[in-house]
């Protein structure tokens, strides 16, 4: 099975829908990237920089760990910030 390039997971898709079904294009415009980059982040094909991660969290007005999660080494099922 093909492994993803990053172990970071995210809740961007859920947060977009919770924010009035914000489109990927709208989010991309807000943080100054292409729509394809938002798609790649949502699908776990691209890890954004720390700066971009903060920008995304700021758009949704939530803490960083509400957007991005990282699995615990000892307990991989448990995602931590």
């Amino acid at each position: 099975m093909k492994s993803k390039p990053t172990r970071v997971t995210n809740s961007i898709r859920a947060l977009r829908f919770a924010r009035g079904e914000m489109t990927q294009a709208q989010l991309a415009d807000r943080i100054g990237v292409t729509r394809q980059t938002i798609i790649a982040i949502e699908q776990g094909r691209y890890s954004p920089s720390l700066e971009m991660a903060f920008q995304i969290a700021r758009v949704f007005q939530v803490p960083l760990d509400a957007v991005f999660q990282y699995p615990d080494q000892a307990n991989p099922d448990k995602a931590t910030s």
Partner: protein
């Protein structure tokens, strides 16, 4: 597919296509002429030039057929571009080193010129492939 990714596809096709045309012409000449007497430089320059022009036209045609959301690249495009250039740089280094070794060994200009050209073509093709894999599967850390 982003504007930059489409550009990489066009560049890959035109680079490989240009070299394929060059090889076909030179192979035809090599069949009847010794390598030292083969006039390769004009063919190399014309096919390389045609490849650049085809790349510009191809990009315009692709954008006309399937317009992109935006023509601006972003940080991900730049990272992918850098990773492709980094991974494929060895082909240019190998081509230059092989050309140098062949010059010191007094090989014919034909072979020296061609091995260096091959290094550039492999750099372009391998770099494009690495970038496309990164676009499709993600950047490997």
């Amino acid at each position: 597919m982003s504007y930059e990714e489409k550009g990489v596809w066009v560049y890959l096709v035109t680079s490989a296509g240009g070299y394929a045309v060059y090889l076909a012409i030179i192979a035809g000449r090599l069949a009847s002429t010794p390598a030292a007497a083969v006039s390769y430089a004009p063919v190399l320059l014309w096919t390389a030039g045609a490849s650049i022009i085809a790349s510009v036209i191809g990009r315009t045609l692709v954008e006309t057929a399937r317009p992109s959301d935006s023509r601006r690249g972003d940080v991900r495009d730049r990272e992918i571009s850098r990773s492709g250039e980094f991974a494929s740089r060895w082909f240019v280094i190998a081509g230059a080193a092989a050309g140098l070794a062949m010059a010191m060994a007094r090989w014919d200009y034909f072979w020296i010129g061609n091995v260096i050209y091959l290094g550039f073509v492999l750099w372009a093709v391998a770099g494009s492939v690495v970038k496309l894999i990164a676009y499709r599967r993600g950047l490997q850390p």
